[in-house]
Symmetry: C2
DNA sequence: GACTGGCACTCGGCTCGACGGAGTGCCAGG
DNA sequence: CCTGGCACTCCGTCGAGCCGAGTGCCAGTC
């Protein structure tokens, strides 16, 4: 059997050699030579033969030599072929699955779910984990609360279906009566509960017309605060990062590979670009090296997946690591955690 | 004038030499020699004289030599003396103060305040910043909300004076009527609003006796969930870390100094121990090297302060960095941010 | 008595060259 | 088409040697 990849034809053994190179390189982090290869994997041929195959693989751009007379190292293209065609996602063991379940089931609220997910992902993959909070824009309104903090100061609280809570302090133009607050509270809830946030915003804007004209100024202030809370882009940018200690295993060239990554991890907006733009939001997306949409982060790969109840993605989570990572394991972990988190959000 | 420190007597010039050594070492990160010292600071004496002073300072344990015939490096004891007696806290410039104000005033809720504080601290000090969320146990109850999510499923929400929100999903033994929920909601609020959380918990436990006996089982479930939310220790452990990219400037010995710190930063419980146990919670506490209560983190210093409205500390914030840090600047930054955050929480 | 200039000494860090080993490419033979 | 052998390349390591920064001490000076 042969494999057609681009205009290149690779026979089975060459593919086996590529797979072996990647596996060895991932575990040792050192360029792998022909001799070590035939010893560790039962390839059944001599080193010289493997060398010929390696020459062909290099010709096609799947592997490269750091310098003449050194072993070979996989290229981004090599990893890509490996991920697409040579690896099967390692299924998690039952104990692993159970561990995920119990770990996430202990969560008491969204914050907790997100925090636990980050830890879990980081632990499972031994990489840096990133979890985006459920986005507001795709959630529905569960409840709107209006509290009197002072005669002319209200607290508006929005609770969403995904469990997130947004609050705003509203300074009123003058004292407001408890009855007005109660009335407004009722109106707000009937107008918005159960609706998606963008739709709820529309209802809010219509609401002003329905109240007695005396109350309009006060109501307008509350409404504008709520509209702001409902459509706050900033909140959609919330992400949590964990497992940075795993960067220690990255390698020694601190300034070249770790520092830019640490800096990127501080910039949450950048992180979202890193996670985002998956072609299929419900599947696991793998971006390898130069495919990563950040030029500071070459020699880095991202494995990400959308998550949410019932396969309807609310947000994204994933891991970041060196291109030289255990892809089958990482993909399995990301997929499993995404699935369980989605379930946990449905229940909680 | 002379300085009595322990059983040791140091004259003014020796103290000046110590101060100069620390300042030079902090800025260059290299052992400082006698010649460079007299050149850079106008000490008005010859290198030989300085050498004699240095020998005395070394004798008393304030400085040390990495190896024979190398320059001197301050010891923890030296930094301690410097912080206690030789440095005055650098006052922030008016633009700096204003920048802090505008940066924090833009915050819309507690989460936002905490996030902004971390960024601010990290930026100002160029170190790793740690901010603890306002603790629940020291806050008061602002509002308790009870929502019906499904016939036999409620959502209990607790909003505290510091703006934090805790939620719990409560599975009821059977369907509950809207009137019961409304009644219970009212009772909960009258019983707890305005009280500190530990006190509120007591009131909750008494509440069960006042409801009709038919409703007792349902009420008990809700109460126990709320009690749990009110007294959740886990929530008190919430902290936010930022500025880890600044670790890049730590030095080259990655494995010895950065890795353990990254690991500690992942463990929030550990972080709290790091911040906590200040002698005077309203002042800035400085822990230097061996004084830090974690033996993995020798060669690290912590500058921390309590914060909260009206000097009544709700929680702690601070920075972590190498013992070789700019103490006056760090102390000033931590103090200023703590003050402003306290104010921001009072308003918001 | 305190400070200073001079001097001998120490020791870490850098450079340079030699060496060994791992790995390759190629070629001739099976 | 595969294999064993061989010459070649080149990186990383090790040791020697040099340089410079810095020290401690001592004798001399104000």
């Amino acid at each position: 059997m042969e494999c057609q990849e681009g205009s290149v034809v690779l026979d089975d053994r060459k593919l086996a050699v590529l797979r072996a190179i990647i596996e060895d390189y991932v575990s040792t982090q050192e360029p792998v030579g022909s001799k070590a290869l035939v010893e560790r994997h039962g390839l059944g041929v001599s080193p010289a033969t493997v060398r010929n195959d390696m020459a062909a693989l290099e010709e096609d751009g799947f592997i490269a030599q750091p310098h003449t007379s050194a072993g070979r190292v996989p290229t981004d293209k090599g990893y890509r072929l490996f991920v697409d065609r040579l690896s099967s996602v390692r299924p998690l063991s039952t104990p692993e699955r159970r561990a995920i379940g119990t770990f996430l089931d202990g969560a008491v609220d969204v914050d907790d779910v997100v925090q636990r997910s980050v830890r879990l992902l980081a632990q499972m993959t031994r990489q840096v984990a990133i979890v985006q909070y459920p986005t507001l824009t795709r959630s529905t309104v569960r409840h709107v609360e209006l509290l009197v903090m002072a005669p002319a100061r209200l607290l508006a609280v929005l609770i969403t279906s995904s469990g997130r809570v947004e609050q705003r302090v509203v300074e009123m133009p003058g004292p407001v009566s408890e009855t007005l607050v109660a009335d407004l509270r009722a109106r707000l809830n009937t107008a918005t509960v159960g609706r998606r946030l963008p739709e709820a915003v529309e209802r809010l804007t219509e609401l002003s017309a329905t109240v007695p004209s005396d109350d309009r100024p006060a109501v307008a202030v509350v409404l504008s605060a709520l509209v702001e809370a409902f459509s706050d882009d900033r909140s959609d940018e919330r992400v949590l990062v964990g497992g940075t200690a795993n960067l220690a295993r990255f390698g020694e060239d601190f300034d070249r590979s770790i520092r830019p990554l640490l800096e990127a991890l501080e910039e949450h907006v950048v992180l979202l670009r890193l996670l985002g733009e998956a072609t299929d939001p419900s599947a696991v997306t793998v971006r390898i090296g130069s495919e990563v949409p950040l030029r500071e982060l070459t020699s880095t790969s991202v494995v990400a997946s959308g998550y949410g109840p019932d396969g309807e993605p609310l947000a994204t989570l994933g891991i970041v690591g060196p291109t030289r990572m255990d892809y089958p394991g990482s993909i399995a972990a990301v997929r499993a955690v995404a699935r369980y988190v989605g379930r946990a959000l449905t229940d909680g």
